[in-house]
């Protein structure tokens, strides 16, 4: 099952059926039957290989600046009955049903659309960082260049153009599945119906709309880790690609 293709095929077909005489509207955010979607994503961890293609695609699509991420895939080495195995955990904004970042914002720059997408008005944001503090998933950051809060938008500009989010589109293994929870025939609805899914930090009470298939118990909440890559980075100093002389060379 290639879910992103099914998703697009279904969407185009429904729009064509509803209005055959008119040019179909390309936006995925206005379904032909007029209902308001509720967008969600399912991470099928059985298929994630931790290739970071989604991380790179997101950064390229959204011009995410160096050192910041709207999505990334932490990889852990955890113990299993077969010995140490890698465990991937794609992270991004959960577009929560009860997002703590929205009431925190003092200028109402953070808001939620009718279809559930949590967005930041980049023209209104004052860069106070309060929403960054409020997010229990570390899904937000302050962009160093714009000075405003930045996060995953579910690639809302692509949805408006009839395209899937860049991370979903690029996922080689089809681990990221995106769709409308209010459409029972959507790929995400079917996956949620067929599988035991979980979401991150249920104790936070935020009702995330990013679901995981095959999520290990040990990764649901705060992941207990010992010193690994982070500790190595600290002892090794800055990476060569962030060294000042390299930057100078690139600029030149």
């Amino acid at each position: 099952m290639t879910t992103r293709r099914n998703f697009l095929t279904g969407a185009v077909a429904r729009e064509s059926d509803a209005a055959p005489a008119e040019a179909p509207t390309p936006s995925l955010r206005r379904p032909a039957d007029g209902h308001t979607p509720r967008w969600a994503m399912v991470m099928d961890l059985r298929k994630c290989i931790g290739c970071q293609a989604c991380t790179v695609a997101c950064a390229m699509e959204n011009t995410v600046h160096e050192g910041s991420y709207r999505t990334h895939v932490p990889v852990y080495e955890i113990e299993s009955e077969f010995g140490p195995v890698p465990a991937m955990l794609p992270r991004m904004c959960n577009h929560c049903e009860n997002p703590p970042c929205i009431p925190a914002c003092p200028v109402k720059a953070t808001y939620q659309t009718n279809d559930g997408i949590v967005l930041v008005d980049q023209d209104a944001c004052v860069g106070c960082g309060y929403c960054v503090q409020a997010c229990p998933y570390e899904a937000r950051h302050l962009d160093h260049e714009s000075g405003t809060a930045d996060k995953c938008t579910f690639c809302v500009h692509r949805l408006d153009a009839g395209l899937l989010p860049a991370c979903v589109e690029t996922c080689v293994g089809g681990a990221r599945v995106f769709g409308d929870l209010r459409d029972p025939e959507s790929a995400v609805s079917r996956l949620l119906a067929e599988h035991d899914t979980r979401h991150l930090k249920p104790e936070a009470g935020t009702r995330p709309q990013v679901y995981y298939i095959g999520l290990d118990d040990r990764l649901v909440s705060e992941v207990e880790i010992e010193e690994g890559a982070r500790a190595l980075r600290r002892t090794a100093g800055p990476a060569p690609d962030t060294a000042p002389d390299t930057k100078h060379h690139e600029e030149a």
Binding site: A87, P100, C125, V126, G129, Y130, E226
Partner: protein
Amino acid sequence: MTGIDLISVDQAFAWRPWAVAYFLVIGAAVAAALAEEALRLLRGPAAARPALRVAAVLALSAPLPLLADLHQPARFLNFYLGAAPRSVMWWGAWLLPAFVATTLMATVADTLGRWAGPARLLRLGMAASGLGVLAYTAGETAIVAARPLWHNAGFPVVLTLTALASGVGAVLIAGAADRAAARLLRMALAGSAGAGLVALGLWLLADPDMARLALSEMPVAVLGHVAGLGLALPALLALFGRGAVSARLAGAAAVWGALAFRWALFTGAQAQSRVETASYLPPALTDPATLQSVTGTAGMIALAAVLVAVLDLYLAPALRRGPQAGPRAGKA
């Protein structure tokens, strides 16, 4: 233990050292303003005057570190272009200018020795908005459920008590008007610092989870530093010390303790990952961002002190003489 991180990222601190400076200065400003009200009530306007000057200097300085911590400071007017009553920070955006404005106007009225009725109302506004500022600064951090070190009953109490101690300490550093006022300020300092020490102990030791959390996010040395040098020492000096030097030492220790507490709690909480049992590197004391905030805030306090001194020593006497000189000149 679950495992190790093979691929991980670090999150940058959203609140920089400027935030630590802001929380220190505004807390001390409010405490100095409250001390002014208490001294005026107990000992009269002359005894309260130094506290009001200190409150004015600190209130004038506080907006700078706050604006500097905004990553888009030029957009600060956005706070006032719409209502966001669910955000504690939005309430603070109104309370802060109200406190700064009433404090400065009360200072001008006191310096000129005029407008007794409006001045009383201004001081009332200063005290009310000041209490609001204390409530919002404690509340905006305490409601952040994603930060367990802030999101508890003990943190806002200790934050407020250290703010009170630092403000009274700042007044003692500037110098009390007389011995009776100094004695009252020392009692206030001993009470707030002592209560802060007890609250800190209860907060961290009564709940084993909180103690574990605090020790995981802050080194024992830092906590000991806050408790010993920042709270116990000023309380003891205020209680048993004699003379202006020990009063100033007690005041300086209280200010240092409030600064150390804010530094430890703000950097400690932000250094702790919310998704992993890992910590990010906090800013060092010698980082450019830290030095910038220290020099910027200190410079602003110095500038504000000069402005208040100019008002007090040169402008006010000239303005006071102005209206009286007029009629006398006419008679001549």
